[in-house]
């Protein structure tokens, strides 16, 4: 009886070790994953501003200013931002390595040191801006340009989320 219990304990222990190891493996960010908290930086361009963040001496590109219909909602100066993104092979944009996909979450506390607005430089351009910085051409950012890709399907109904 006691031997059987011990056997069960061993199996449970092995399972637990395997689960912990598996979880740890799953949670280890891949080489391309970048998760960090830093000040966001906005860089002006001749078209629309682009949003960047610096981490470990490297500049990362987060996205551009569009409008409220866009998938990317820029962060706030005056707040640090949690950046969670995957390093892309795309060429640098606005001087930053491209994170795509990327998620930005402004932290609620104020941080007055996050106040960098970089001026426009000719070498940094955003030719793909779907709308100019002023009035639009009559369509929102999520509308594809003429002949462009169709919009992504809108998710609806119940969805599962995993929080870590």
């Amino acid at each position: 009886m006691s031997k059987r219990i011990e056997h069960h304990r061993l199996i449970a222990l092995a399972a637990a070790v395997a689960w912990v190891a598996g979880t740890a493996l799953a949670e280890t960010p891949g080489a391309a994953q970048r998760n960090f908290v830093s000040c966001p930086i906005v860089r002006d361009t001749k078209t629309v501003p682009c949003w960047l963040a610096e981490h470990d001496g490297e500049l990362y590109y987060l996205g551009i200013q569009t409008d409220v219909s866009a998938e990317f909602h820029p962060p706030y100066l005056g707040h640090r931002v949690l950046v969670e993104g995957t390093l892309s092979d795309a060429p640098r944009i606005c001087g930053g390595l491209v994170l795509d996909p990327v998620r930005v979450s402004p932290l609620p506390e104020l941080d007055g040191t996050c106040n960098t607005i970089l001026p426009a430089e000719d070498r940094y351009t955003v030719p793909f801006a779907p709308r100019p910085p002023g009035p639009s051409g009559g369509r929102l950012a999520f509308d594809p340009p003429p002949g462009g890709a169709p919009p992504k399907p809108v998710r609806s109904g119940p969805q599962d989320f995993t929080t870590k």
Binding site: L77, G78, P106, P135, S136
Partner: protein, 522 residues
């Protein structure tokens, strides 16, 4: 003929010699007919289907699409309360259905302060001050402000208490009302008094339109949208500075009970007549001292009251298909003939066209504006005036329009300097609001906020709403100075200067003049 020559000379003088504001003030003082434009409650007469009134920049046009109105016994023009006021007291046709501080002062001079406009309830800084003393009415006489008194803590529409996210202290109380034992924050019925400008009761088909950006939730902050209590439909909450009344009907009832001191709400028939009248009135500048007749054939499509009557509602104008104020290109480049008057008029018209382009296309960094930078655009966002002022034909917000750009919140609100050498004491109250630890701090102002008027937060109790004010329409501006809810911009130039300072726009002198000229023609 002589009058026309004088006007033409004035035009030339305005365009070539003096800044616009200086010209406007001069012309107003020289016009003796202005005093006769006041519409007294109970005054029998006819408001024509179409008429105009002299203002600082030319003439304001009033169009009544329902035809002329006999004001005898009409409830908008008749005292329906106990203090002798009517709706028209604070919504004067000559003042674009609002109230200019110039007319307030004229009325004071004409009646020795006995006009019902100066009623103790809210035409004084506080009801317990001595009447007929100008100092008791200083905010009305200096800034055109009416006292708005609201319960603290806030009450929901069903009368239940709203638990506020912040505490409030009175830091400065120049009117004495917020520390009054009878009317103040520590009184048996705790009340907060703030001081606001009456809004134009005109062009209301735009102000109340709820077909764009209005749904079950406020798109700015995710809060449930207000409903019309009669129909259950969602409303845009764009009518009042703090959006506390959802419909013209509830506003009329509330105004009758407070401003007019009616003993009971007006009946349905009375309300219906008031609302019908309000819905058929359009106000816009019709003649410009500089640009001439704004309604002549071929005029820019946005100008004049008829354009407002004909315009489409619930249209987003922040795009180059609809435009906020469609001006066309008729004034973009005009010939010079050598005729002094004609050349001066054309020069002014070109300035108006440039001013429109400054409004519509001139980018700047919009930063730390609550309910604008927080809605997904990021902080800052490089945009233009028309980003916020995007409603076609009015420049309001198409959706729920309360924002904080610093008109009442420090550090941006206009404050009287305090120093041993100061000759003027601060006029406005100052409150200190401290956001509770249980809630996230205000994203741009933190937990402790100083303000002259907490705005929408006095209704919702929300930290993020502190100092948020529903933006106003841009029409009839020339007839109803001063501007902003607290009257802190005495002229159109001061209004432009506020934005220039607030957002570090760095307008050139010419851009400022063009913008003022453009706004004066709306």
């Amino acid at each position: 003929m002589l009058g026309r020559a004088i006007i033409h000379n004035l035009v030339v003088f305005a365009v070539t010699v003096l800044p616009t504001v200086a010209v406007a003030q001069t012309s107003a003082q020289e016009d003796p007919a202005r005093a006769a434009q006041w519409w007294a409650p109970g005054q029998a007469g006819t408001l024509p289907a179409s008429t105009s009134y002299a203002d600082d920049y030319g003439r304001l046009g009033i169009l009544n699409t329902g035809g002329s109105v006999d004001t005898r016994n009409h409830p908008f023009f008749t005292p329906i309360g106990t203090n002798g006021r009517a709706c028209v007291t604070c919504h004067q046709p000559a003042d674009a259905m609002s109230l200019s501080v110039e007319d307030v002062r004229r009325r004071w001079d004409a009646t020795g302060g006995r006009d019902p406009l100066f009623a103790a309830i809210d035409g004084q800084n506080c009801p317990d001050l001595p009447p007929q003393d100008p100092a008791s009415h200083s905010l009305l006489l200096d800034r055109g402000l009416i006292r708005v008194f609201l319960p603290w803590p806030p009450r929901a529409r069903d009368g239940s208490i709203v638990e506020p996210e912040f505490t409030i202290e009175v830091v400065r109380d120049p009117t004495g009302c917020n520390t009054s034992a009878k009317y103040g924050l520590q009184s048996p019925e705790p009340t907060i008094s703030v001081y606001r400008r009456p809004r134009p009761a005109a062009n209301l088909k735009y102000v109340t339109a709820s077909d764009f950006g209005v749904g079950p939730f406020n798109i700015k902050d995710g809060q449930p949208a207000a409903r019309d209590p009669d129909t259950g439909k969602f409303v845009n909450q764009n009518m009042m500075a703090d959006a506390r009344e959802p419909t013209l009907k509830t506003q009329a009832i509330s105004a009758a009970l407070t401003h007019l001191q009616a003993p009971k709400p007006p009946g349905e028939a009375v309300l219906e007549r008031i609302i019908d009248f309000e819905r058929q009135i359009y106000a816009a500048q019709s003649v410009s001292l500089g640009a001439g007749d704004l309604t002549e054939p071929g005029h820019p499509p946005a100008l004049g009251p008829q354009a407002l009557a004909d315009g489409r509602t619930s249209v987003l104008g922040n795009n180059i298909t609809n435009y906020v104020f469609p001006m066309g290109d008729v004034w973009q480049s005009l010939p010079r003939t050598g005729d002094r008057d004609s050349d001066a008029r054309n020069a002014f018209r070109e300035s108006v066209a440039r001013g429109h382009d400054v409004f519509f296309f001139r980018t700047f960094w919009i930063k730390d504006a609550m309910h604008l930078n927080t809605v997904g655009l990021g902080n800052p966002v490089k945009r233009t005036c028309s980003t916020c002022h995007g409603m076609h034909m009015t420049g309001m917000d198409t959706a729920n329009g309360w924002m904080d750009i610093g008109t009442t919140n420090l550090p941006w609100a206009v404050e009287t300097p305090v120093s041993p050498w100061a000759k003027q004491a601060p006029e406005m109250p100052l409150f200190k609001l401290t956001c509770n630890r249980a809630h996230a701090p205000h994203p741009f102002l933190g937990r402790v906020i100083y303000t002259q008027d907490p705005g929408r937060a006095l209704i919702t109790g929300r930290c993020n709403d502190i100092g948020t004010i529903v933006m106003q329409q841009f029409r009839g501006l020339a007839a109803r100075a001063p501007y902003f809810s607290n009257g802190s911009a005495r002229t159109l130039r001061e209004l432009v200067d506020f934005y220039d300072r607030r957002f570090n726009i760095q307008y050139s002198e010419r851009e400022k003049e063009d913008l003022v000229n453009f706004l004066s023609t709306l």
